[in-house]
């Protein structure tokens, strides 16, 4: 198969899917005719294509695969169209619980409670319900408690390509100088979203000519 044809096939599949497609899936799809390196190159070419022509869409690497998304500046319009669909914020306790799971997975409920010092079953239910967390098995110990882990949806809603992209937990707080951190540093030191080749060379302004 011509490289170009394969690239077009890839683009159409990426366009149509609602989940990030891992390069591995393309490899299987093309019966290993192309290596993952080739496929990565193709995906990057498609991404660049969209970027160069100043498209409203972009192809990004996210949650272990590749997927098209709208560019962030159009978010207000999307929200306007879907104004009846509410997104709801995660509470502090949900965020704390989620971050413990993200770093320590697979982890049992009682281990989370050990760290947080409070009961978490209700929060855990919410996280599972919102598909950010899933049951990842059982620990083979007394009572065989359930183990929890994060989902691909978690990666996607936090803009992470993969779990390894989580900031190093040890680096977050200098353990001996807590007072320097008295205000939460909300800025991630390495922004995972923008390190992609997604920076448009000439920023096309969004005009809402109504």
């Amino acid at each position: 198969m011509e490289l170009r044809d394969a690239r077009n096939i890839m683009e159409s599949l990426l366009f149509i899917t609602e989940q990030p497609i891992p390069l591995k899936s393309f490899e299987d799809l093309f019966d290993k005719e192309f290596s993952q390196d080739d496929l990565l190159k193709m995906a990057e070419e498609i991404a660049l294509d969209y970027q160069v022509r100043g498209s409203a869409l972009e192809l990004r690497e996210i949650a272990g695969g590749w997927q098209f998304s709208s560019r962030s500046e159009f978010a207000p319009w999307i929200r306007k169209l879907f104004k009846d669909r509410l997104t709801y914020r995660l509470s502090n306790s949900a965020m704390e619980t989620l971050s413990i799971i993200a770093y320590k997975q697979p982890i049992t409920r009682s281990e989370i409670e050990e760290i947080r010092g409070v009961e978490v079953s209700a929060v855990l239910d919410t996280l599972v319900e919102r598909r950010l967390v899933r049951i990842a098995g059982r620990r083979e110990s007394v009572g065989r408690p359930l183990l929890y882990g994060t989902t691909p949806d978690f990666l996607r809603s936090f803009g992470l390509k993969r779990l390894e992209e989580l900031p190093n937990i040890e680096s977050l707080v200098p353990p001996s100088t807590p007072e320097l951190q008295s205000e939460l540093p909300l800025e991630p030191q390495a922004s995972p979203v923008s390190e992609e080749p997604a920076e448009p060379p000439s920023e096309p302004k969004v005009e809402s000519n109504s």
């Binding site: 899917t17 996210i62 971050s99 770093y103 010092g117 996607r156 936090f158 937990i169 951190q181 540093p185």
Partner: protein
């Protein structure tokens, strides 16, 4: 926050838990976690509990447990060490609490960082509905080999086992029931969908065996749009007409295996 003001929730809203309250007190007083003046902190902690009581905020039991832990540590600190030269080297009664606080603090920071990530990612929108396909596209019966290939894909994508061996009895009979129940509701579903609920390999395998068994019993049909195409599972009486001559007449016929030749794996019994 705008939920019904259940009392418990209010107190949890102020502080996520006893560790959170302790961290707050430590920060407020500009103290080092590694060297907490335990008497001072205990006193402040207790006065906060009093305040919460005065405000009629109901307190989670964990707050009280922490209070007793603090008082225990305070008592231990007051006990004289038998050998004064060992004073510096003996285990610090605060050590466990300090470690807990440090660990909790790290995750609290992580939660903050993750929130920022989420904020940044929230303006990126992805397609959210799977594409729909016409049933008419699915006219070809999937062979055992197609099924095996598709199943291998499912297995390949299954997450690695979590490191423990998990024994649990899943019977094929139960799975068969489950699949039929699913198909009762929707009459057809994608092959992969069958496995969506199971994460463990043994689960996947039993599901697959149940699937093969159901096909053998002519309860369901596996169809695909073309060779190597995506496979869909249909309830036998809901399959698209042309595809399944055995039920084309409307009623399922006796489960005598067909000579179609594509399910060579199932043994013929008459």
């Amino acid at each position: 926050m705008n939920e019904a003001p259940q009392q418990m929730d209010v107190s949890l809203d102020v502080f996520e838990g006893p560790l959170d309250l302790l961290l707050h007190l430590i920060r407020k007083n500009d103290l080092q976690i590694s060297d907490i003046p335990i008497a001072q902190i205990t006193q402040e902690y207790l006065s906060y509990l009093d305040l919460m009581k005065d405000l009629n905020l109901e307190m989670a039991g964990e707050f009280l447990v922490m209070a007793s832990t603090l008082m225990l540590i305070k008592a231990q600190m007051l006990l004289p060490t038998p050998d004064p030269t060992e004073e510096e080297t003996g285990p610090d009664p605060r050590a466990e609490l300090v470690n807990k606080l440090l660990e909790y603090q790290r995750f609290k920071e992580a939660a903050g960082v993750l929130s920022a990530y989420k904020d940044k990612a929230k303006d990126i929108y992805y397609r959210s509905l799977p594409p729909q396909f016409d049933h008419e596209d699915f006219t070809l019966r999937a062979s055992v080999f197609d099924l095996l290939t598709a199943f291998k894909r499912v297995l390949d994508q299954a997450p690695r086992e979590v490191g423990q061996i998990i024994r649990e009895e899943i019977t094929i009979e139960a799975k068969i029931r489950e699949i039929l129940d699913l198909l009762e509701l929707k009459s057809s579903m994608a092959f992969e969908e069958l496995f969506a609920g199971s994460h463990r390999r043994i689960d996947l395998i039993v599901t697959f065996l149940a699937l093969l068994e159901l096909i053998r019993m002519k309860q369901i049909v596996a169809l695909q749009p073309d060779i190597f195409g995506a496979i869909r599972i249909y309830r036998a009486d809901a399959a698209p007409e042309s595809s399944f001559p055995a039920v084309a007449g409307g009623k399922p016929v006796d489960p005598r295996p067909e000579a179609a030749g594509d399910d060579g794996q199932t043994e013929a019994q008459s």
